[in-house]
Chain length 175, copies 2
């Protein structure tokens, strides 16, 4: 197992739909292979449909949310900083524990972009490769220094989106 | 339910990692919402880790594979055509049945690209909107006529990939 897992760092970024869902798909695949997964979400909170479905696989999947249930708009509050930094501390612990073959940090890129997690410190941590877990980082606006340290980067580019016709997020499809 | 589902067509294409996994993530989310899902795979066959994990949700998820277990290289064989066309007939049946809130057709775009499914006929079928299922179509080389008829299109662009360092697909991560 330790030979298979070189602790690659994946980054899914861009303005298109599919970043969080790709991380969920990777989680499902890892669970199908019998692996243990830590699934952490920055900036989010709440029992989304995907969280409900992931819980089916407990205790092989551990879920944690480090957000206030809404995206930070404008200037983040002290509470946003506190939650994100606590989340990042926990995430590092989980990565280094060696207990998880896969660690997903959903919206991590956005947390870095907003400065909720110090970029220099995060990049320094991630550069200590190989990490004991495969790491999947999602969210818009992945900073260049993060892309530099990653092994795999996909940009999800929006070509078309029905949101522009005014449709709201629908249960089971967007949330 | 029928009001929520307008039968949007999603296309995930491009050369980056994340297309099939995004479709898997959408499947997981839909299952978490209590929906029924048909998950069909063109050009693929075999018990991948994700298929194993999806089976946890049977009978709410129905899985079918329409491939020979390897990607078509060069000229498709008569068997590739037969399997793809049988798959497409079954997929249309499942979409029109109204029994599934979500229908995923993995590698459908590639099957169109290779001419395994007639493009004109497929686009004509898909243009009969709204369909009774949300439809997710993945694979490289989505033809322009498919993009035209879709409601949501994301291009997964490869920025970096560790495959280029010669690494093979790993169980639980790529397969």
């Amino acid at each position: 197992m330790s030979q298979v897992f070189k602790g690659f760092i994946h980054v899914y970024t861009g303005n298109g739909k599919g970043k969080t869902t790709a991380a969920l798909g990777l989680t499902l695949r890892a669970l199908g292979a019998g692996f243990k997964v830590f699934f952490g979400q920055f900036l989010k909170s709440g029992e989304y449909s995907e969280i409900k479905a992931l819980k089916t696989f407990a205790p092989r999947v551990e879920i944690a949310q480090f957000g206030r249930g809404c995206f930070v708009r404008g200037k983040p509050s002290p509470e946003d900083y506190r939650l994100a930094q606590e989340g990042w501390s926990l995430a590092k612990e989980k990565i280094l524990s060696g207990n998880f073959q896969l660690v997903v940090l959903d919206e991590f890129n956005l947390a870095l972009h907003f400065g909720l997690i110090p970029l220099d410190e995060a990049v320094e941590f991630l550069a200590r490769k190989p990490l004991p877990s495969e790491l999947v980082l999602t969210g818009r606006y992945a900073p260049p220094a993060l892309i530099e340290v990653a092994d795999l980067v996909t940009e999800m580019r929006e070509i078309k989106h029905y949101y522009h016709s005014g449709l709201k997020a629908r249960k089971g499809i967007e949330k």
